[in-house]
């Protein structure tokens, strides 16, 4: 083999105390497609961002065509003919495709958009893109926008293309079209890296596959010589014991019954598709899945924040024994119905707490309707704030410190503390330990366990499979908005979860354009 187009040697990148990439070595050759496979948070995107100039590695070397390269900015990356297509498109909505493509370029000669459009059409014809260069971005479908992004890097003359989860937003037909284009680019001698966690796509498109896990390089295989099972095992790894206490569920009754829940997003794509499950009291129900499989929408639908198109969510009141339908109720109406629902959202300082307000004021977000007349009652929330700081060992200068000044773990303690103080019957948490250190994480696990013992139905959306397996009683696996399985956490294995998470390959087959 000749000199590889890209060679990464011992690349390490840390963010604060978190190591996102550790001693990673990787090669990509011209005229081949390499899949970079890994779970969420395994460091795939971080690694590629170092090639595209967004991050700079803390240690290690990058070689482009055999020569050591220093890439400090996206501009440096262009100079090395590296182009990255990000998951979130960077396009100006009211500009045409051609205007977006030529934006920021310092080409010689007079600026004439007609010439640009002609050149864009030439590139389209060469690789088989289907695009109208004078169409405005806001009139385009997601797949057309992605095409514009790809042409943008080709127009700049990129020889190395990096695509970050390019199929996440595409229908299977669009995916096949994209793959056809990628194969043509490969024949043209381009080096292509495609970041993905969809196994069948890896097997379909790539020549070789490199696997990352938790920031570490696991290995590289020839796609032709491997299979899904082997790749899954490399991706999820061996089970790690965490010693989380798990008590047997007691006095389980059905608390929350979700039936056939279906929910479309603004593009008309099904983000939740016929979801059915039951959350039981005295039990922790885990929800696993690749990021963006519908976890957020599911929790928000239950909390009354997300409208859904069909299906039902029924709450069984433990006091009266009656069933309450939560369909098209606002969070306030849900509370008025006597449903004690607590929600610890993923976006702590966006949806959960107000960063600029202090701990007491944040407690009042749940009790601001209490008090006489126009005046608020502040004494009870202040007491609550004091208790939370004491019981959950929140590190803060005082209860009148704005919560945005607290560290991530302490913010989470304040939020969980407030939600638990309402003595809920259903407690939903989304990524409750994300970004928390070990001690804070265990504190949260213990809190959830004690809620479970009190007979609360706990729903725990998580990303770390080891935690899900040790903390939860049952695990529901979401895949592309559908339930791909509900397993017993005591009997399930990581491989099984990994397979279920990546099982559903239909992407968004029901949402043809």
């Amino acid at each position: 083999m000749s000199t590889p187009a890209i060679e990464l040697k011992n690349i390490t990148k840390t963010f604060g105390s978190i190591t996102a990439n550790k001693n990673i070595c990787l090669t990509v050759n011209s005229g081949e497609i390499l899949s970079l496979l890994g779970e969420n948070g395994s460091g795939k995107t971080t690694l590629m961002n170092m090639l595209s100039g967004i991050y700079y590695p803390d240690a290690g070397q990058i070689f482009i065509d055999g020569k050591e390269a220093v890439i400090k900015s996206p501009k440096d990356a262009f100079d090395y003919k590296i182009g990255m297509i990000h998951q979130h498109f960077k396009l100006v909505d009211i500009f045409t495709a051609a205007e977006n493509i030529v934006l920021g370029l310092k080409e010689d000669g007079k600026y004439n958009i007609k010439d640009v459009e002609k050149k864009v059409s030439e590139i389209s014809a060469r690789y088989g893109f289907d695009i109208n260069p004078s169409k405005k971005i806001y009139e385009m479908s997601v797949s057309e926008k992605q095409t514009v992004e790809i042409i943008k890097v080709l127009y700049k003359g990129a020889d190395i293309l990096i695509l970050d989860e390019p199929t996440a937003v595409l229908t299977p037909q669009e995916t096949q079209k994209l793959f056809a284009v990628l194969r043509k680019m490969k024949e043209d001698g381009k080096a292509i890296v495609i970041i993905t966690h969809k196994l069948h796509e890896v097997l379909d498109i790539s020549d070789r596959v490199s696997v990352l896990r938790k920031g570490e390089y696991i290995g590289t295989l020839n796609t032709a010589e491997t299979n899904e099972a082997e790749l899954t095992e490399m991706m999820v790894g061996k089970k790690v014991s965490l010693d989380i206490n798990r008590t047997e569920p007691e006095n389980c009754e059905d608390r929350l019954t979700v039936q056939g829940l279906t929910c479309l997003n603004s593009d008309g794509v099904k983000v939740l598709d016929d979801i059915s499950f039951t959350a039981r009291s005295g039990e922790i129900l885990g929800i696993a899945g690749i990021a963006g499989s519908g976890q957020k929408e599911l929790l928000e639908a239950i909390a009354g924040l997300q409208k859904y198109d069909s299906g039902s969510i029924v709450y069984n009141d433990p006091k009266t024994g009656s069933a309450v339908n939560l369909k098209s109720k606002t969070p306030y109406q849900i509370k008025e119905l006597g449903v004690r629902l607590s929600f610890v959202p993923e976006d702590r300082l966006g949806m959960g707490l107000v960063g600029n307000m202090d701990i007491t004021d944040n407690m009042m977000l749940r009790s601001y309707r209490k008090g006489r007349g126009v005046f608020l009652k502040r004494s009870a929330p202040r007491e609550l704030a004091k208790n939370i700081v004491k019981d959950l060992e929140v590190v803060t200068p005082g209860i009148s410190t704005p919560v945005r000044r607290l560290s991530g773990g302490n913010v989470q303690k304040v939020l969980v503390g407030r939600e638990i103080s309402l003595s809920p019957t259903v407690l939903m948490t989304a990524y409750a330990v994300r970004g928390l250190d070990i001690n804070s994480s265990y504190l949260i696990y213990n809190l959830l366990n004690s809620q479970k013992q009190k007979g609360v139905a706990v729903i725990f959306v998580g990303e770390d499979l080891d935690v899900l397996l040790e903390l939860c009683d049952r695990i529901l696996v979401l895949s592309s908005g559908t339930v791909s399985g509900i397993v017993d956490a005591k009997a399930a294995t990581k491989e099984e979860l990994g397979r279920l998470m990546t099982k559903n390959s239909k992407g968004g087959a029901d949402n043809e354009q």
Binding site: F78, V92, I94, F95, V102, Y111
Partner: protein, 327 residues
């Protein structure tokens, strides 16, 4: 009747010119995403700086040369408004101050500055009376040489000083700049989506500074036109009135297009003085009619908001500070 209409058109154009300068300047600024509400103040400063420059030259000379009168006051005016917009750019861009607050503060400051020097400039030189720059005023008011040979047409459309034509030329050039040049494309991208522009390697700080300063200098010329041509070199405190706000209203009315700002300015100029041409109006009725331009602006805002046509919306990141994301 024809004569009255011609008089009205002429008056509308004269009223419209300062508005056109202000509106073009504000459009150039807003295209970069900077909502400079300091424009009314900057126009005051553009006027008073021109007056100061003109005064210093004219009163030191017994026989002022017309071309020097113009050049000196013009340079002073441009410097004054450039400095004001530099303050705005520095505060909002480098220090990331809130754009609305900064702009409103600059307007208050600019009006105060104008009135302060307008009221006390003569006292500094031990004179009394009010500022009146006869030579400079005359130089600015000089009409095209053939205007008086063309009868009513010449009087209606060609009898203005050179700044009036400059206003129209600047508006047209700005329009071409925004639609036909790379720099214009880059500037519009910054106002729409700075993160995308940043990723495309465009120097956002440079563009925002330059467009804000250039826009302020253009707007300042509106103030200069008012004091030199409209009032012929005389300053009266608060004489410029609320024309700066009208200019900002025109930006909306013209849907952020400099070319449309030309006719919009003349319509607004006409609405501003139409009460004088309607006979038999009581003074309160006149005030109500003077309100028309603002009413029209509100209607336009309602209309474009309801229609939601993407091209008619303000630049998407107007008024927002841009922070580069570093996750």
């Amino acid at each position: 009747m024809l004569f009255t209409i011609a008089q009205f058109i002429k008056a509308a154009i004269i009223q419209g010119i300062p508005l056109l300068f202000g509106a073009t300047g504000e459009i150039i600024t807003e295209k970069s995403g900077n909502l400079n509400l300091g424009i009314p103040g900057i126009m005051y400063v553009g006027g008073i700086s021109g007056i100061i420059g003109g005064y210093l030259y004219e009163h030191g000379n017994d026989n002022p040369v017309p071309i020097l009168c113009i050049l000196i006051s013009l340079a002073c005016s441009l410097m004054g408004s450039a400095l004001m917009s530099l303050i705005y750019a520095f505060l909002t861009q480098t220090l990331k101050a809130n754009q609305n607050v900064t702009g409103l503060a600059l307007t208050t400051f600019g009006i105060g500055l104008g009135n302060f020097f307008g009221g006390s400039l003569l006292k500094f030189f031990g004179e009394t009376g009010s500022i009146s720059l006869l030579s400079t005023g005359l130089a600015y008011k000089k009409a095209l040489p053939f205007a008086d040979k063309l009868g009513l047409f010449g009087d209606t459309f060609l009898s203005f000083g050179f700044l009036a034509y400059l206003a129209i030329i600047i508006a047209i050039v700005s329009s071409l700049f925004l639609s036909r040049t790379r720099a214009g494309l880059n500037l519009r991208a910054i106002g729409e989506n700075p993160a995308t522009a940043d990723a495309a390697g465009i120097n956002i700080t440079k563009y925002k500074y330059l467009s804000t300063i250039a826009g302020g200098m253009i707007a300042g010329l509106g103030g200069l036109y008012f004091v030199m041509d409209y009032t012929a070199g005389a300053w009266t405190n608060n004489g410029f009135g609320d024309r700066g706000w009208l200019a900002i209203a025109i930006v909306i009315f013209a849907l952020w297009k400099p070319k449309s700002a030309i006719w919009s300015s003349f319509i607004f100029g006409g609405l501003y003085i139409i009460c004088v041409y309607i006979p038999g109006l009581s003074s309160s009725a006149k005030e109500i009619i003077k309100m028309l331009p603002y009413l029209v602006t509100i209607l336009v805002l309602i209309f474009i908001s309801a229609k939601k046509k993407k091209e008619h919306q303000p630049p998407a990141s107007l008024g927002l500070s841009y922070f580069r994301e570093d996750r």
